[in-house]
Symmetry: D2
Subunit: 154 residues, 4 copies
């Protein structure tokens, strides 16, 4: 989407001189509208309870089946009530060199106190991929929206 | 739904004399129509690859969180192709003495060869319940329909 | 599942003398356990607000695409709050002579007051089928469980 | 996320000199990794068959219930086969001045030829919102990934 000529980077600031290709107009003609991706937040799960955490076995690698576990609130617990809870995780895989990500799993945590039953927001998916790439976990909190984590598969 | 006076049971046959309350008419007036529950099959997972298998820790009990794992094809592997695959599991819990079951989790296995990525139909849910009851796992195969397993929580 | 010799039917009671094949044992060995289908309720939507209502165009027929609309609470409104709401509809089609039903759509109504947004439990699916059969709509209320409606496609 | 000093814009190219705040590091420390939002594409649905199209009644407005219809391939039809199909739509609403978007509906089109049954990727949601805002529709094609449309509610 952008070509840029980097000049200087310091303390998280990037001084640049460049030429940019603007975001393509969507079919509503709005270039200033936020897109949904602008709302998918991330951060350090050690301090932010909404960030999903992808757990992969150390020896996970392309060409062999491995298990991805996704949890949330590992350091700071997230509430699990009717009023405030994690609704779902989605897991995507983007193969190195591929153009598009593929949805791997969609996990919904459905019970938040009904008849005193609770589902903890922890999920897993057993994946086989022939190529290295990147795993994305997206979580949705009914109050605080969309969050993501990302990890590489060698 | 039925009152019956049992007389004799032998080899899986039940000889009975009784009075039955017919299935309540649905709002379409059809008493002979099959209902969706009539299509939810079960069987012995050792011989039938479509039956989901609920795995619970031996010491799982009401009042403490426990993990339910659901797999399928434990004895006889199920295909995982675009043409023929397990699409989802649903997990329900029915509390002892409760009138209705509560959905605990809804797990979708989304990749069946797209970009050479495959999701194996294995899922888990971490559950907390205050009372004993019954866990149901339902699976859906895009070709062979709906199947279920059931297990008790003490 | 059962062979029965009918003797007399009156006012919704069926007096019978018969021989029955018991429900096949599931892999847990429990013949007395309820199965999930036993919890899928139906009734007359004019009096029961939980029964989903399938709306089909009068001229819907196999071989042409048609639209199925599913609503709920048509006569008696259903609450839509965090504490009590319709979570999802599933729609299945069972082709005449086919052994298994096929899932057509899975519709989740996700907002129940978050940021003052509400999704009404109404859904639709545009279906094409080559053969006549039966459409099933299943609904799930987080408090009152599973309900169904059924209608034939000629 | 970025401060920039614009100099010149022409033909979709933006010549700029500026200072940028880099994307915050995620908890994996990767500043160069793509995030999932980078894969959510958009475009003009008149030429691109993957862009979902949100249809709203002209008089839809905050404070009254209105129906959102989402379709795809309105100008250029999208295939509906086991190998290549639209799997789901998600609909979100972001209230003006709100910090997070709320999921309104999650619609899965499940049949792509099984037993000769097909579900067309068309969905709807009946929404009530107290405030103006923005509706997002996200679609997922099993081959070509994630796409979005966006429209404002006054």
């Amino acid at each position: 989407m952008s070509l840029m000529f980097l000049i200087y980077k310091k303390n998280g600031l990037l001084f640049s001189l460049g030429v940019y290709i603007l975001r393509e107009q969507n079919n509503r003609g709005g270039t200033n509208m936020k897109m949904i991706g602008d709302f998918i937040q991330t951060g350090d799960w050690k301090g932010e309870k909404h960030v999903p955490v992808i757990h992969m076995p150390e020896n996970a690698k392309a060409g062999e089946q491995f298990k991805v576990k996704v949890s949330i609130g590992d350091a700071v617990g997230h509430p699990n009530t009717l009023e405030h809870h994690i609704v779902w995780f989605k897991i995507f895989f983007h193969g190195e060199g591929s153009k598009f990500p593929v949805e791997v799993a969609n996990l919904n945590f459905s019970a938040h106190g009904e008849d005193d039953i609770f589902t903890d927001p922890v999920g897993e998916a057993n994946i086989t991929t022939d190529k290295p790439g990147t795993i994305y976990a997206i979580s949705y909190c009914n109050i605080h929206g969309l969050w993501e984590d990302v990890i590489e598969v060698k």
